[in-house]
């Protein structure tokens, strides 16, 4: 396969995944805002969302005050923000268009149609009228893209590069989300937690974290227990069977990397394998003891480096 083609596939699926994860986080925040909560807590929620996307400075420069509607508008539909859902879907579609001959007709048409309909939905005012429905729609379109890819594409390296792109992005997004959500509530070890004293608030906080990764029922199934932060972290970091966990994502990345390996990719495979092995043999109490924030920061760095290595070995 042409390196340029692989590069477009990698970014096509990466942007589609990003759009989905952004919609997930927005949805959870929106749902949380429907619960009784103090304005400070609600504001903190939207602020943490902005910082998760590294958009806080851009937002404050533009609007100043945190305002739920504006934040949603900014993250969903801002033309200038590179990670808005609008721009993610545009980029997914542009990358797909550049390699439409490599995709099946169904995959291309799904991606193209998502872009066409998303703009129509925005124009129709759905975001203001019923944000949850818009977020749900984005998630569904991403599920559809994934299903159409699996159901129609020849399972060759094109699919591997699509997978590598989407799982790297998902690992990145899950890690960021955990980092922000833990920091907001639990703080670092031995720090005084902000919300610990309110069990109800804590329950809603962690259940919303789980819901954002479709993990609420999964958690119950895996632990048959009340929701405690350490276990949430364990599920989302170390449980290889949980499709949005770091262990699962890195497992899929490694699997696809092995299939596309070439003469110069040994070191990249070694790094990916090492990262995966550490997740396989990690223990949540060790991670927590050393500080979750430090752990996730390092993980994000390594995933970023891995993306760079993959690009160098295969995509240029």
């Amino acid at each position: 396969m042409l390196s340029r083609t692989a590069d477009h596939l990698f970014w096509q699926s990466r942007y589609m995944e990003r759009a989905e994860n952004t919609a997930r986080l927005l949805d959870v925040n929106y749902q949380a805002a429907l619960l009784p909560q103090t304005p400070e807590v609600a504001m903190a929620g939207w602020r943490s969302l902005l910082s998760l996307f590294e958009l806080l400075p851009a937002y404050t420069a533009r609007y100043g005050e945190i305002d739920a509607r504006r934040v949603q508008e900014f993250i969903v539909a801002d033309e200038t923000s590179p990670s808005s859902i609008l721009n993610s879907l545009r980029a997914a579609r542009e990358n797909a268009r550049a390699v439409r001959g490599t995709l099946t007709t169904e995959v291309w048409e799904t991606t193209n149609q998502t872009w066409i309909e998303f703009r129509a939905l925005l124009k129709s005012g759905l975001l203001a009228r019923d944000p949850a429905e818009l977020f749900e729609w984005v998630k569904l379109r991403s599920h559809l893209a994934r299903g159409v890819t699996l159901g129609t594409m020849l399972q060759d390296e094109a699919v591997d590069f699509l997978r590598i792109g989407s799982y790297l992005e998902r690992a990145d997004n899950t890690a960021r989300m955990l980092d922000v959500k833990f920091h907001a509530v639990v703080g670092e070890p031995r720090e005084e937690p902000v919300l610990r004293r309110d069990p109800a608030a804590e329950f809603y906080h962690w259940s919303s974290v789980l819901r954002s990764v479709s993990g609420f029922e999964v958690y119950r199934k895996a632990y048959s227990n009340v929701i405690v932060p350490e276990k949430v972290a364990e599920l989302l970091i170390l449980n290889g069977a949980m499709p949005r966990s770091l262990a699962h994502c890195m497992g899929r990345v490694l699997h696809s990397l092995r299939r596309v390996a070439n003469d110069q990719s040994d070191e990249t495979l070694r790094q990916a394998g090492k990262l995966k092995a550490e997740l396989d043999y990690g223990r949540i109490n060790e991670i927590m003891a050393n500080g979750l924030h430090a752990y996730l920061t390092q993980f994000l760095e390594r995933v970023g480096d891995l993306g760079g290595d993959i690009s160098r070995d295969f995509l240029i």
Partner: protein, 478 residues
């Protein structure tokens, strides 16, 4: 304009090959056609069958536009197609012989059939190609020949070749997609008619390209389609053809030349490339030989090409045969190389570089069509009868400044075909571009071609860049 020729109607009478369609149309319930038209537009958008308009401002919708698709087919009876096909075969064969001759012995120039200076001083003449041998002596492997039917004084119509497109003719994807769309919208129509299929065009194209691969390859020839990229107006077609043939769609930056061989960069290292169906003009192919600032091509490509290590389709230098100043000589070429009478007519043409022709054109500007000899796409031309006085006078100045840059032709009364427009069904002018494939094993084509239609009432300009649309083209089998 005197008489008109309509493809469907002869006065009150419906022509035989349209009677089946007309009966079907009469049976369609009210509103059906409008509903189908809207359906077609939604599908074309979803499929992304678009073209980019140069110089258009991005209005948020992107510069991607749909080419308007008309629901009413253009129907050609079998006997007409048989004759046209023979004429196309003859014409393209002679044109390929001419290009080979120009870059080798130049017999036709020595014989004085085509004036020497017309060829050797032509901007489209590529001295780099002198003495270069190309596989099968095929230069224009893919040709698009524009044909119009003009009304004669007695009300009959006859086909004329308006121009030959021997460099990178486009539009074949619309021919294929239009058929697919018609079959999807109106399956019952296809059950009621025997319509010659066209969907095997990509197979014929691949066969043609493979037949022109360099000699003595150790393995199957690697064929690629070379595109300027996704912002080119015909990108959809490039991607479509590559996909339909199952070959790589490459950009210049995917290619490199080493030791006079061409390679593409892949995820598993470099791979040899043997045949390049290039959809970029000569000028952009190789910055070492042509435009040095071009980033669309690949440095060293022409060197590899001249060494016979890669095939370019079409070959470099085919523009010498489709230049409008050479066009008037095509009938003479056919007689010179093949010893046959031309089957397809040319349109009478005045060459403005000749003093007496120029005088005639200047005296009759309001009745003539005047075109640039190297122009294409309906840009830079004058349609006398449709122009205002001021436009004519402006054009007169441009023409007199550089007469050798122009030819004049009578304004043909292009045939019309019923077309679905805002006001209902009305006649609109059409042309036809059949695609002719020449490979080592001979000339092949699918029946019909792309019918373009000028949607504006009275307009004779069918180019998509000028508001033209397209129709499905049926060749009816007996």
């Amino acid at each position: 304009m005197a008489t008109m020729f309509d493809e469907m109607h002869a006065g009150e009478r419906t022509r035989a090959h349209y009677q089946g369609y007309e009966r079907w149309l009469a049976e369609q319930p009210q509103g059906q056609m409008q509903a189908r038209r809207e359906e077609a537009e939604v599908i074309f958008r979803r499929v992304g069958i678009t073209f980019a308009v140069y110089g258009d401002k991005d209005s948020g919708e992107g510069t991607e536009r749909l080419i308007p698709f008309d629901l009413i087919p253009r129907v050609i009876p079998a006997h007409e197609w048989r004759e046209m096909e023979a004429g196309l075969r003859q014409r393209v064969t002679a044109l390929n012989r001419f290009i080979h001759d120009v870059y080798h012995e130049q017999e036709i120039l020595k014989a004085g059939i085509v004036p020497k200076e017309q060829v050797l001083h032509n901007a489209q003449f590529r001295p780099e190609m002198m003495g270069v041998n190309v596989p099968g002596q095929i230069y224009s492997a893919i040709a698009g020949i524009d044909i119009v039917r003009a009304a004669n004084a007695d009300g009959s119509g006859s086909y004329h070749v308006l121009e030959d497109n021997l460099r990178v003719p486009s539009g074949v994807s619309y021919m294929l997609e239009n058929r697919k769309m018609m079959m999807r919208l109106f399956p019952d129509l296809f059950a009621r008619h025997r319509i010659a299929p066209v969907a095997h065009y990509p197979d014929l194209l691949l066969e043609t390209l493979r037949s022109l691969a360099p000699q003595g390859l150790a393995s199957e020839p690697a064929v690629v389609v070379l595109t300027p990229g996704m912002y080119n107006s015909a990108y959809f077609e490039h991607a479509f053809l590559a996909q339909q043939m199952g070959v790589q769609l490459v950009e210049g930056k995917d290619l490199f030349v080493k030791d006079r061989f061409v390679y593409m960069r892949t995820t598993r290292g470099s791979r040899r490339v043997d045949v390049i169906y290039r959809r970029i003009d000569d000028d952009f192919l190789d910055p070492e030989v042509f435009r040095p600032e071009s980033t669309l091509g690949c440095a060293g490509l022409i060197d590899a090409y001249k060494a016979g290590n890669v095939t370019l389709a079409n070959a470099v230098g085919t523009g010498i045969a489709d230049d409008k100043s050479i066009y008037p000589y095509v009938p003479a070429m056919i007689e010179f190389y093949l010893g046959e009478k031309p089957i397809l007519h040319n349109v009478p043409t005045w060459q403005c570089r000749k003093a007496e022709d120029l005088a005639h054109v200047l005296a009759n500007l309001k009745d003539l069509v005047v075109k640039e000899v190297h122009g294409a796409g309906g840009y830079g031309m004058l349609v006398g009868p449709a122009a205002t006085k001021a436009e004519i006078e402006d054009f007169r100045r441009v023409l007199m400044a550089r007469p050798d840059n122009y030819i004049g032709q009578p304004t043909l009364s292009l045939s019309t075909c019923p077309t679905y427009v805002e006001a209902g069904i009305a006649p609109r002018h059409i042309d036809l571009r059949p695609f002719v494939l020449s490979g080592a094993q001979g000339v092949q084509m699918v029946p019909g071609g792309l019918t373009r239609v000028a949607l504006k009432e009275g307009s004779l300009v069918v180019n998509s860049s000028q508001g033209g649309g397209t129709k499905d083209t049926w060749v009816l089998e007996n």
